[in-house]
């Protein structure tokens, strides 16, 4: 018979596996954001592309923070906010480009770790 501790341990193993799986999927999740950003650099201020990019960033930010991948959550929230400023001024574009670079480097670095989610 499974004890309370067995169940807790099982849950913790499952949560840790979910975190690892999510980190492994991040390059795939960020690819459409990169495409939107490239498109915005070519086309200027396309409202639909900005909204699409924001929606994708919002989803990654929310999932990353839920799964304890805080560095990715912070950068994606930051880029989402920059896109929300109404106008993509040169300063704003530069700030987004910098954050996008940091985000891609972080995801490609294979050093990402999630904060433990522990059921006690």
């Amino acid at each position: 018979m499974r004890t309370g501790n067995d169940i807790k341990q099982e849950v913790n193993v499952q949560l840790a596996q979910l975190q690892r799986d999510y980190i492994a999927k991040l390059p795939i999740k960020i690819a459409p954001v990169n495409q939107d950003w490239q498109s915005l650099q070519l086309t200027g201020e396309d409202e639909i592309t900005i909204k699409n990019m924001q929606r994708k960033l919002h989803a990654i930010a929310g999932t990353s923070s839920t799964l304890g991948v805080e560095q990715v959550a912070a950068l994606t929230y930051c880029i989402e906010e920059l896109l929300d400023r109404g106008s993509l001024t040169p300063e704003c574009r530069q700030a987004i480009a910098q954050r996008m670079n940091e985000l891609n480097q972080l995801i490609d670095s294979n050093t990402l770790e999630a904060s433990p989610m522990v059921f006690k």
């Binding site: 499952q14 949560l15 979910l18 930010a61 839920t66 959550a73 059921f119």
Partner: protein, 135 residues
Amino acid sequence: MNDGSPQLQRVLYIEDEEDIRLVAQIALEQIGGLTTKTCASGPEGLEAVDTFVPELILLDVMMPGMDGPSVLGKLRQRHARNDIPVVFITAKVQPDEVHRFKEMGAEAVITKPFEPMTLAAQLQEIWSHFHAHRK
């Protein structure tokens, strides 16, 4: 501990992000002991209201296609089970938005990231409050 109000048992969670659905399923079922069904879209969720018969619906606000407020609107307008309490779940929520969501008919608003270890307890509390105010 039971204060006499009915215990929440069945929760429907409508959320487009698969990874969040998986965390919530563990949080609600294994940690919280609730019977849980998750759906990936508004239309799928509205169908599940009839088949799964939830006692409470946890509803993501920002979803592609039919968003959370639209799902709530459809549920309240034309659904036979239009009195099921709905709890919105969203990132980035301002106080005026919480007020707006409640005016739409949401019972409560939970912000993302939610805490997996306490999500079920949070919903139990909302459920108890809902019942206390219906008496």
